[in-house]
Amino acid sequence: MVELKRVLLVEDSPNDAELTLEAFAETGLANEVVWVRDGREALDYLQYEGVFANRPPGLPAVVLLDLKMPKVDGLQVLEQVKQSPQLKSVPVVMLTSSREEADLARSYGLGVNAYVVKPVGFPQFVQALKELGLFWAVVNEPPPGSLRRSNMP
């Protein structure tokens, strides 16, 4: 049985996080979703720091990154991820309600892999996640040398 890689969801709004998790459930993708509340936590998770110093090893299949967050915002996380030799291969998807062009341009400038404006309608959101999930978690080959292990404690 193929062990599925985790999805890292970086989202400060509990409502959005719950809807995203619900949508994930709707899509039928079985990947485990790790939810962190801000950019600082996201970086800690990715770099095994702070509360995540002893987390099971392995890079996520995809990082779903909210743009506007307290402490360290999405663009800063994206920048650090894409500048780090260890992390830059991790696909990052900007999940945000913003439709501002500046964000779009800056995100692509920083090397984002995809950018999804969360549709107001839930079904459309589910549809969008489905496409993302299929693409990143199933179609994408994991980078060579990455371990396939269960991360469930």
């Binding site: 709004s13 959005d16 809807l19 619900e22 945000t96 439709r99 501002e100 062009e101 309608g121």
Partner: protein
Amino acid sequence: MRPLDFAELFRLSPNPYMVLDRQLRYVTANEAYLRATASRLEDLQGRGVFDLFPHDPNDPNNASVQMLRGSLERVLATRAADVLALIPYRVPMHTEQGVVVVERFWSATHTPLLDAQGEVTHILQHTVDVTELQQLKQAAEERQGSAAAVAMEAGVLGRARKLQEANRVLDSERRHLLSLFQQAPSFMAFLRGREHVFELTNPAYEQLVGRRDLVGKPVRDALPEVVAQGFIGLLDGVYTSGEPFVGRGVRITLQRHADAPAEEAYLDFIYQPILGADGKVSGIFVQGHDISEQKRMEAALKESEERFRNMADHAPVMLWVTDPSGSCTYLNKSWYEFTGQTEETGLGFGWLSATHPEDVKRAQDVFLAANAKQAPFQLEYRLQRKDGEYRWAIDAASPRFSPSGEYLGYIGSVIDITESRQAAEEMRRFNQQLERRVQERTAALLEANKELESFSYSVSHDLRAPLRHIMGFAQLLESRSSESLDATGRRHVKTIADAARQGGKLVDDLLDFSRMGRTELKKAPVSLRDAVAEAQRELAPEAEGRKVQWRVGNLPEVQADPALLRLVLRNLLSNALKYSKTREESVIEVWARVGEEEVEVVVRDNGVGFEMQYVDKLFGVFQRLHRADQFEGTGIGLANVRRIVARHGGRTWAESEVDKGATFHFTLPRVELQLGAEGAPARAVQA
């Protein structure tokens, strides 16, 4: 019988004859003439009569020559014979001592020889030497009428006929003189006797005094107004002294018309006493010119000169005049008052001593260079005011030329521009301040814009999120828990979801609208036809299941931002579709009018229309003329249309009648337009 040989007759005639041409050169002369003048024919021919016989070589214009020349010229002028009864003339003569020049007395007749046209070609002179007769006469007069003289008179009788002839000629001469007298431009009159009785007046004189019937009247009666002016006294003086009187610019007042005021005139004239045969004054010849007009002009000139000097002196600017050498010949009062200079210190090159030491050389160079070129110039320099302060002045001058084009120097003006220089300086400072303020404002505006953007940003983010949550959870409730809700509950859930969706759409539209004002226009050539076709494709879902007739006319290419133009058309066509949905068949027309300066695009539908009294609200943000339960919409579409068109430099307007459809117009400035195929018919497409 042998015909007469006139040439021989001429040659042998005992009287002296000679012939002159029109230039008074000898053509021929007979032997008697050659004898009388001790000449040879070959020496005379082709030479002028006065060159050969000047009478007095030291006085080429002596009286005898004048008499002879006068007679010959009269013949040329009148084409009639002319007689000189007695003329003293020196000619060379054969004497025992050889040839000597002797003064003789002659009587001469000059006869014109005419050609077929009656023009004088030659003059024939016939002379008689009357020297002895003249000498006898003089001798007789000396002896006071002796018998010899009486005897001699008989000899003179032979000349009587000649003299009669001469009188006739004199008479015609007098008539000629009289006509000259009548036509002379100067006024003339002859006054006879002690009472100065008018004997002759010419028209010029009559015009001067304004009366015609003067002859026979004494001056004092004919011109009573001149008596008191002293003219009678002058005439009396001339008459008694025999000395002429010359008047220059003499004022006279004349009563030319009885019922008009007396008029003033100025005269240059002469009272010339005329002596009778007895050597006594017999009358006075009056001759002169009316110089009133000259006087008036002189006075006017003097007055205008005075006026200009007065004007110049009181002009509120400093004025100066130089001569061709550059030396100043006039300065007006303003100059003297400003500089405190006097004529002594100011005229000539005195202005340089009032010029700031640092500016003197430059000012002098500019002035002298301009003066050499006789060109206008302008100069800014510091001029010392009488209180010692140096003031900035602008000196502007134009060259002066006489009517004949001769350079006369400059006329120039000097204006104290210290204040205006300060004002300009202040203006510059003020402008800098303004500039700074504009920069501050611009910065503030940019700041405000930034704030607006971050506001939009947070609205976009923060407002959309709760709406999304409401909707998401409502939908979750619907899909997961609908069986635990009753019908009312399910209706509420649906309402919540609809309301949230409408809110989300509003937020999106509003953000689009605010972005519209901020984004840069990227103009390019766009085919209106393609843009309309694309909008039709995008709107196909809305037209689905309806009868829609599209009538698309000729549409040109325009210069616009392609994405924004498409948005405009999509909005207008979407409205046309939306508001005609209640019709059995929607008819939507799109066409364009290409004008001189702009392209007008028209979109017409056959829908429900609107009331014209609300037309102003139509293009406002969130302005809706229909209830949401009739027609959906956020009220931002037309606001966007107006904003986009305005940013392209175009106009938007609409007209409608309730239930009669609506027509929307917008224009785009015209740049290089090309219509499609000429006369291509509008297509009707059944959707």
